[in-house]
Symmetry: C2
Subunit: 338 residues, 2 copies
Amino acid sequence: MQDVADLAHVSLSTVSYTLTGKRPVSAATRARVEQAMAQLDFRRDPVARALASRRTHVLALAYPVYGVSLGATLNEIVQGAVEAAREAEYELVLWPVSSSEPEVLRELAAGRTADGVLLMEVALDDPRIEAVESQGLACALIGRSADPADRVWVDIDFEESLEVAVDHLAGQGHTHIAFVNRSQADLDAGYGPSVRALRAYEESMAQRGLTPVSTPCDVNPGAGRRATTALLAEHPELTAVIVMNELALFGVASALREAGRSVPRDMSVVGIAISGEISDMYDHPLTYLAAPGPDQGRRAVHGLLEVLGGRPAPAGVNLPCSLQVRETSGPVTRLTTP
Amino acid sequence: MQDVADLAHVSLSTVSYTLTGKRPVSAATRARVEQAMAQLDFRRDPVARALASRRTHVLALAYPVYGVSLGATLNEIVQGAVEAAREAEYELVLWPVSSSEPEVLRELAAGRTADGVLLMEVALDDPRIEAVESQGLACALIGRSADPADRVWVDIDFEESLEVAVDHLAGQGHTHIAFVNRSQADLDAGYGPSVRALRAYEESMAQRGLTPVSTPCDVNPGAGRRATTALLAEHPELTAVIVMNELALFGVASALREAGRSVPRDMSVVGIAISGEISDMYDHPLTYLAAPGPDQGRRAVHGLLEVLGGRPAPAGVNLPCSLQVRETSGPVTRLTTP
DNA sequence: CATTCTTGTCGAAGCGCTTCGCGGAAGCGC
DNA sequence: GCGCTTCCGCGAAGCGCTTCGACAAGAATG
């Protein structure tokens, strides 16, 4: 940095000020400094900068490496977050921690190698929040906690999503619509998405005078197949199924095939809160409600930056999923005998 | 740190030396210092430490966030790496970068916020290697490059794995064994695992005078189903299939079910280089060659630390997969008519 | 007993930046 | 022409550590 200053015939502090913009620098000086920096291929040292300014310009995202979700949906969020961070000249790193080991997260936060932390897959009562905040770091939630007041959070509007899905199917004449949720364990743990989606599904059905039929389902194709097979056996009158479970979707497909139900002639399938990438992997082009993945990541980062900037903490948002009508949903064409 | 020194009646540098161990400190002094640290709940600042010592004590793992692999297998590697790093008092962070954007990686490396970088899913000619090394950072490869000489790498022994798989099946009387590989795109890109596994499969078959039958297959259940269906149509004499494709496995299962082939009575299935978690998700307990995931991560970290420590760069290793015989493989029970 | 090591500790000089206080040079009104 | 403010730039003091040279003791050596 001193070299740059010398070359531009200014003092070292002036170079710093042109870089940080924290004090005015005349256009002429700025030009000379920038020229010198380019000439010397100067890049300021993030470590020294962090030490002097007490800001690392790093945002950490607690990345759940334990557990078997399909990367795609998680990674869309990461991608959005990375982009948003990059635009704000922040660096985003992933901290590999399981949600069940808040102490590890606490240690990481104590090191203060990041200015703020993004938490994904937040449970209703998530110990990680306290772990981060106890170290004085800002934190933003992707998915929301039990008491989201006064905190930055970004979540999916499950209420609306299920309403839209049910509406789409009901509008096509379906009256027997099932819902395949995430695992029973999630439900028991009070994991937001499972709980809220189930409730929303039941309400949407009730409003139309329809009887809800739902089942929890582990996140894997085999479980999806078994759950669907069981559902069909018990409720042969079903003509549509809503699935909020990435991996189970594939099992649903095979169960339907085995049951001799063709899609969408005999049976409509709608995915909830999944990424486009998953839908592309499906047998037929899948009708689904696209998760606002990248946008979630982006907004969470923005929220976090607001907090870091000392601005009033913005409230949380529920982002809508957008309905993508493809080829797995259609009007009822075969009358079922209940 | 000065507070600790005062409380222990020693100088600041002595505190530092008891922490780093770079100079001898008498047992008595050490005890006093440690007591003082405990009393004050002192934790040294990683940022200041990094600035002064030019060592961040951080290892970065380039984490491929684009692309749809199933988290499980990737994450086993991460877990192993995290543990190994933690044991060595290093911190492991994930840098979210796609393998197709080496410039991003170069920028990250230029910031020198990590001492070394782990690269996963290395292609035969991977531009990321140069991107990292050009910035003077050490790097270790998980999967190996075209010219792995003089570099730290950890890979899976595909040669042995396929030999073991073929041997296991041939030993049970199978003579018509197919191989479902990863995508054609991987094969074209010269992605090590696909290429080496295919070659190894063909050699193992040839050695026994058997005719190899293989197919590339995109990494998703639908593709797996189609590939298997096609395989069975063209080679009805098949009685076994080896699958090196996590997601396709599930499609293989449905295709077999649809073709009326029961497993393992009519057909044996063996997974290659997959994690236990995936196998658990399979319909029946799957016979598979377990990827040495955690061990790969662990060894890569150790290798990287050796290099950082200035020790002679250890050569690479091919780690074996261990055969886990479960219920999807068994002797031929029905004679096929070719 | 003088000399050379060894061992344990200290003070001070950085690491590469940010930031604070200060002051010179314009620009302004009267 | 005088004080006044405003605009820019400078020097220096850190940020919280590591590390180097120096230096007392005591141990080992001849």
